[in-house]
């Protein structure tokens, strides 16, 4: 898809997005990559940093209220990034907002998730929302990979129109182990700490 290559090329010029792996990623495994969220280019940076065979089966999760708004944005998100759009505001209360994600995982795809739900102005992530916990419970065999996006909060923070080029490193951590009988709160805090540990 030429849109993907255009986006990746622009991104490399803007932020570099060089990957660093704590443990090398094998292909053919379903994963949920979860990362801190501080800029508009986070999704693209993480996606572009993945090795090609893994990237082809990995779909970013994007908010429908933002990325579905205009035809151009939708084209970039759906055609360029192969994104899964979710309904953050629960416009239709009868629908489970996680349904498109469970469908994608069932199809064998991996996901990129920003569990904070919205962009932060600082380098370290804020509290995580519960979506990651629910997906982890539904899919016990999916690897949960913490990712830290360095420097991107300086590149294009919330409320700015133009980016500042900045060298960004994408750090992939080791898979988060599952603990039997862990509560939702302690799981989410442990997941957040796994991202912080990579900072």
């Amino acid at each position: 898809m030429w849109v993907s290559y255009l986006l990746i090329g622009l991104l490399r010029l803007l932020v570099g997005a060089a990957p660093r792996f704590v443990v090398p990623l094998q292909s053919g495994v379903r994963r949920i990559f979860f990362a801190n969220h501080s800029s508009h280019v986070d999704t693209l940076a993480l996606w572009a940093a993945l090795p090609r065979p893994i990237r082809d089966r990995t779909r970013p999760v994007a908010a429908r209220d933002y990325w579905g708004k205009t035809a151009l944005r939708r084209h970039f998100a759906v055609k360029g990034l192969n994104a899964v759009l979710i309904d953050r505001n629960r416009d239709d209360p009868s629908q489970d907002p996680l349904q498109p994600l469970t469908e994608a995982l069932e199809r064998g795809d991996s996901l990129i998730l920003f569990p904070e739900g919205t962009r932060q102005a600082q380098a370290l992530p804020g509290p995580f929302k519960s979506g990651l916990y629910r997906l982890a419970c539904l899919f016990p065999d999916v690897e949960l990979i913490p990712v830290y996006l360095e420097n991107l909060h300086r590149c294009m923070p919330k409320g700015t129109l133009f980016p500042v080029p900045m060298i960004c490193t994408v750090r992939f951590g080791a898979a988060l182990p599952r603990l039997a009988g862990e509560s939702k709160e302690s799981f989410l805090e442990r997941a957040r700490q796994a991202v912080v540990a990579l900072a």
Binding site: G16, N151, P157, F162, V164, P165, M166, I167
Partner: protein, 314 residues
């Protein structure tokens, strides 16, 4: 010889030199036994490989002419400034100023070279940009370390955009009896700076004992400086036939280039260390970042440009 033939001879000479270096690197790689020796040779070989790429890039830019060369240096400035700003602690209030530095100041500075507007080219950054940038930062209404932030941004723009842009600006000099050959002068500058860097590294590895500035850059030694600088000046003198200079003038110019380049390398190393880093980046394998390769050029280019303009151009 016409300029084209001079260029072809030059490229053939550089390619031969690199081919010899590549073969020597292979032989050393096969012979060396110790662990530390192996890492030195591995570093040497990645440097040589990166050299081939750099020579190819400059060769292609030369063949495609003035616009390609200007665009190439604009990209070099962009990547160098990106490395500089990444290591500089800026605050969200500087966002506007930084965006303008990348997306307005770099294109305008290089456009001025393209249209050969010399007067505005020399003052655009020191006058207009240096008054505009703090004004934009001020709009962010954050006074925390305002002077330090402004000074760092201005210094980054000065070195990576203003100074480096003087290398392609050599193309706008009008030197009597040297028409159509300005690109060779740019080649001469880059050749002397890089040969000096390489030979200082080689002499330093072979004979280096006494550091020149142990705090700022532990790898630079007196032996490396003396050996590297004198050989580079020798090469500069021997290459007088591609310049508008006589052999003696060429040696003098090469001395200035080598000295300025040496100081540039040390000053930028001090800046880098004050920011807590060893390399500016990891873009060019074996060499660190773009700015690790451009540090010497950034100091040598403006001085070489103005000396040549003052004494040789009309």
């Amino acid at each position: 010889m016409n300029p084209r033939q001079k260029f072809e001879w030059l490229m053939a000479g550089i390619a031969t030199l690199l081919a010899v270096a590549t073969v020597v690197g292979w032989i050393l790689g096969a012979k060396v036994r110790t662990e530390s020796g192996r890492s030195v040779i591995a570093n040497l070989n990645t440097r040589i490989a990166a050299w081939w790429v750099m020579v190819a890039v400059f060769g292609v830019a030369y063949v495609f002419g003035k616009i390609a060369t200007i665009v190439l240096f604009a990209v070099i400035s962009f990547l160098s400034l990106r490395e500089f700003i990444t290591l500089t602690p800026t605050r969200p209030a500087d966002h506007r100023a930084l965006s303008v530095a990348f997306f307005v100041i770099i294109p305008v500075q290089y456009y001025l070279i393209g249209i050969e507007w010399y007067a505005l080219f020399t003052i655009f950054i020191p006058v207009y940009a240096f008054l505009l940038l703090p004004s934009l930062s001020m709009l962010g209404q954050d006074t925390e370390q305002f002077l330090e932030r402004t000074a760092k941004i201005q210094w980054g723009v000065f070195v990576t955009v203003f100074c480096i842009s003087h290398a392609p600006a050599l193309l706008l000099l009008r030197i009597p009896g040297y028409a159509g050959q300005d690109a060779l002068l740019l080649f001469y500058l880059i050749l002397i700076v890089q040969i000096s860097d390489v030979l200082q590294y080689v002499f330093g590895k072979l004979f280096g004992k006494h550091p020149v500035a142990s705090v700022v850059s532990p790898s630079k030694t007196v032996e490396g400086l003396v050996g590297g600088a004198s050989s580079a000046i020798g090469v500069g003198c021997a290459m007088w036939w591609i310049t508008p200079f006589s052999p003696v003038q060429a040696a003098a110019m090469a001395s200035v280039i080598v000295l300025a380049g040496f100081l540039g390398g040390l000053v930028l190393s001090a800046v880098k260390r004050s920011m807590g880093a060893k390399d500016w980046g990891s873009m060019i394998s074996g060499h660190g970042g773009m700015l690790d390769r451009m540090d010497s050029i950034s100091f040598a280019a403006p001085i070489f440009f103005h000396l040549t303009r003052f004494f040789f151009a009309h």
